[in-house]
């Protein structure tokens, strides 16, 4: 298990936990980022912030500190 922010380009993971404030969790829930969701790291912006991910067929950019709150299990 690792932080979502630690996924390498092209790696996929399954969300296992979301930390942080309830406000943040709800915001992520609205975007479809919930436990069990499949997520793929697409690419980094310069300085690795923000990071682009693909989830449920669409792309989303998360700030590094947001991605650090999401725990994933890497899929082999």
């Amino acid at each position: 298990m690792m932080k979502l922010s630690e996924l390498k380009q092209g790696e996929r993971g399954t969300v296992v936990d979301i930390k942080g404030s309830s406000e943040m969790k709800r915001k992520l829930l609205n975007m479809g980022i919930v436990k069990g969701a499949e997520i793929k790291m697409v690419r980094n912006a310069p300085l690795k912030d923000p990071i682009e991910f693909e989830i449920r067929g669409y792309h989303i950019s998360l700030r590094k500190n947001e991605a650090e709150n999401i725990i994933v299990e890497v899929r082999k």
Partner: protein, 228 residues
Amino acid sequence: MRKVVALAGNPNVGKSVIFNALTGARQKVGNWPGVTVEKKEGICKYKDIEFYIVDLPGIYGFTANSIDEKIARDYILHEKPDVVVNIVDASNIERNLYLTMQLIEMEANVVVALNKMDLAKLKGYKIDVRKLSKELGLSVIPMIAVKNEGIEELKVAIYYATKHRVKPFLRYNDGVERIISAVQEKVIEHNILSNYPPRFVAIKLLEGDEEILKMANFNEEVIKQWIS
């Protein structure tokens, strides 16, 4: 006869295209009271009814965290529009249907405009519109708004919805339903936020929705006691 129709949906689903197609030149742009969020209103006539159409801000959910979400939520809960047209991006259907689910929980009179059917097809999605409509318990109109496809069908669906209010119901698994019922009973018993649907209030209290908790003057501990 005049009926109020609100347009709701995620950002970038083609809400403005549909708003323009429905209202044509008969629209005005202003602000929501007290905030610098644009409010677009327009008129669309169909048969004996004049639809007064309000474009709500594009949102992902109704958590009232951002001003956009609060505007949309307050409008639907307080102004109680006759029909809410939920514009869903068919090429992003999974994320979009979350808002649909919340609209159903708010007991809005929903019509789903399933837009961007061409993009969904390009992505390889095969959407069984009839089955989706049956499962949701409301009208689903497939559209390609930029090509003006489905606009007339949408008008018919809105017209029909003003005459026959649908009451879709979203059932969770038995364990969740037991807890919702327990809280709903308390909501009714204590007359909590009685101008809102009791099931909606119960679900929001269980979610720990700060705005609803504050309005009801409750803290999460009380809710925990109810369900223990």
